[in-house]
Amino acid sequence: MERKLLMTIRGVTKQYPGTLALNNIDMDVYGGEVLGLIGENGAGKSTLMKIMIGAETATSGTLEMHGKPYAPHTPIEAMKLGVGMVFQEQSLIMNLTVAQNIYIGREEQYVKHALVDTRRMNEDAQKVLQGLEITNIKSGTRVNRLDFADRQMVEIAKVFDSVGASEGEGSIILLDEPTSVLSEKEIQQLFRHVRRLCTRGNAVIFVSHKLDEVMEIADRICVFKDGCKVDEMPNENLDEGILYEKMVGKTASGEYYHVARQRVPEQDVVLELRKLCKRGYFADVDLQLHKGEILGICGVVGSGKEDLCAVICGDEDPTGGEILVRGQSQRFASPSQARKAASILSVPRERRVEGIIGELSAYENICMSNFDGVRQNGVISDKLAKVQAEKYVQELSIKLPSVNQRVGRLSGGNAQKVVFARILASGCDILILDHPTRGVDVGAKTEIYSIIRDIADQGKSLIVLGDTLDETIGLSNRVAVMKDGEITKMFDAPPDGKPEQVDIVKYMM
């Protein structure tokens, strides 16, 4: 059977400040096929989809749909041209009915004398749902009365119908992690709709962390890695092992992460988690962190690693289990209490929003987590704060005209070093680093790795959620892998026997 070409993507590149999200992507989408996209977080899948639905514009490169140039500026425009997306975060209006949600923005056909014919709209919406074999949802129900899986089905029905309405030459539907809240039965149901849609000449692009699902539904699979499309193959005789290998990023040399400086941690356990739970996020996490140890945690988005760290640093409350700090059971009401009572501090992921106060100077930022060292007669002494800041600026070789420099103006690498100076000045000795090198250029990255080694040398303990898998492995003494809120595997990562990325990815997905 001859396949009809729906969309061609040529040389699409997306440059964000500091990162190349997509690098020269070529891809074709054919009518009647399910195209699976796989890759780690940050491999570029989401960016490509955003460009396809007009939520982002490519820095360079071209897209064509049905042989004509295609450059939508908004998702609604893309929808009219036959490209629709089911978002992972749902886009339903909670207090409207299912029917109102399915037809929102497209009500013209039901409007007479400025009034909406609700009954006819409900009937038609019911037919749309029936067409997708969804029988348990009444179209007149308000969406907030539905459970999560049903909402997801409504979302899918909405996009299927709006793209179907413009169907003619063949449409493209993008599904981003559509199955994460669905049961096995609902997933099979969804797959049937997907196949039916394809037999009518449409294409479905399916993005998922669940490799088994992609391998079940896709006709063709594209693998993304570090913003590039590294491979494209028909879904025949593939096994997961091959795909894992193609997905993992390049391995940097041990020198890059200063692996030679990796030390053997001491025996003392400074932090222990016993059966720690947060309902709906993670369950029964047992973990020990030793003095001077760097512990990496890996997992895909939604694996619970971020939530786990938020609980450890006091930002969220656990629903069960125990946190023991130096043998003593602790509960923190806030991050400030975790810092004071247990000497735990976290370096947040979003530096500009959570890590620094851009309007303040470097020296003010540096003393922010601990005013005790710079207090004189009860008030903060600018002089002491500046002296302290000077010391760290030199130690961490932060490039600053003076410590009075406003931090908001600094480059990513230097701003991050200011964050590390604040961490050091805090005197805390259990540190949680959430993406410590995000938005930092390569040169500054290796300096930051060196700072992290210094911190470990001082006998402090660190938990690291790396920007890449390679980074996590390169830095850590041990690597914990999380999936669906549970620790699935613990790897030892000594300098001479670092685990392979492929082996870790297997436990993540």
Partner: protein
């Protein structure tokens, strides 16, 4: 290939949490009706004269103006904004309307035309503040507060110190008369409720306001004309404030700026007590009807119980804090400013 059928524990837990949350929301959405019923029973027992036909008539009369005012604000609040302009604007409408019908200060006798002009004036003013908000991207709170102050000034200027007394017989009887035991002004309020109901549930406008209040980003992606919808909300607010000014003047028998005072706060209380979220996207005109009834019943009963007016104001303040505390989402990491 072996198929994995693994339903993760946290996935199940997450579903349960969502279910719990939606049950809680459902319970809260019915709470205003329960509270109203409870208050009616309570006051019937403890406040002498509460449960009587005369008082029912009183209640209907007292309900009229606050109901229209809160119906106007409902759509504003549904899309996540606020509007405080009624204080000055309703006073202005009442003042100029009194000057245009038969009155004590001049020889005008425009009758219904006068009312029409006054209401149109209100719509024009809210339309302008709407445009300032939409195009200038200024917060509705600040714009409407300033507009209120401006219109208050104009109101006093219009009658130069001494308010006009309404001498038009039609309007003086209107304030007291009733049909089938229901006061005339209450009919106006009920008609406005029906219109508001149709607007919310039977027009695209109603869905779009809800969409904007729930998540403006989604609404935009869906293709909702956000600016136009917001502008229409302000027009509707103008209609309501215009009517409130007119009803206030009729009720008082004169067109003075004070008509607008003590109007906005009870109206916001009614909207919020009824279960409409101040952050938008939740609630609606039916909630507002219940909320306005609750506020009216409480004020009425406090008078019957002989509570001082100052204490009544304090009670109203406490009600709004309690209502907001119940209705907003809670969470450790929710940032509220």
């Amino acid at each position: 290939m072996e198929k994995q059928v693994h339903v993760s524990r946290i996935g199940e837990e997450f579903k349960q949490e969502m279910k719990k949350q939606s049950q809680r929301e459902r319970f809260i959405s019915w709470a205003p009706v329960g509270i109203l019923a409870f208050l009616v029973v309570l006051f019937s027992i403890i406040a002498q004269g509460f449960f009587s036909l005369t008082n029912l008539q009183n209640l209907l009369k007292q309900l009229a103006i606050p109901l229209v005012m809160s119906l106007g604000l409902t759509f504003v609040i549904l899309m996540g904004s606020t509007d405080l302009s009624a204080q000055g604007l309703a006073g202005f409408v009442g003042a100029i309307m009194a000057l245009m019908v038969v009155n004590s200060k001049n020889a005008n006798n425009m009758g219904f035309l006068g009312i029409l002009i006054a209401v149109v004036a209100a719509i024009l003013v809210t339309a302008i503040s709407g445009i300032i908000h939409i195009k200038g991207k200024l917060p509705t709170f600040m714009v409407s507060y300033a507009v209120s102050s401006i219109m208050q000034g104009f109101a006093v200027l219009s009658y130069k110190g001494e308010p006009a007394l309404i001498r038009d017989e039609f309007f003086t009887t209107m304030s007291q008369g009733s049909f089938l035991g229901i006061p005339y002004l209450t009919y106006i309020a009920l008609a406005m409720f029906v219109i508001a109901y149709v607007l919310q549930f039977k027009t695209r406008f109603g869905s779009y306001v809800m969409a904007i209040g729930d998540n403006e980003g989604i609404a935009k992606n869906i293709g909702v004309n956000i600016d136009l919808t917001k502008f229409k909300v302000f027009l509707w607010l103008g209609v309501c404030i215009g009517l409130v000014g007119f009803m206030g003047a009729v009720r008082l028998g004169r067109g003075e700026v004070g008509i607008g005072s003590n109007l906005v706060f009870p109206a916001i209380t009614s909207v919020v007590v009824g279960g409409t979220s101040l952050s938008g996207g939740k609630g609606g005109v039916v909630n507002t009807l219940v909320g306005a009834m609750i506020v009216t019943v409480i004020n009425n009963a406090l008078v019957l119980l002989g509570v001082s007016p100052y204490v009544q104001q304090a009670v109203q303040g406490m009600i709004i804090i309690a209502a907001v505390a119940i209705s907003i989402p809670h969470g450790k990491n929710l940032i509220v400013k």
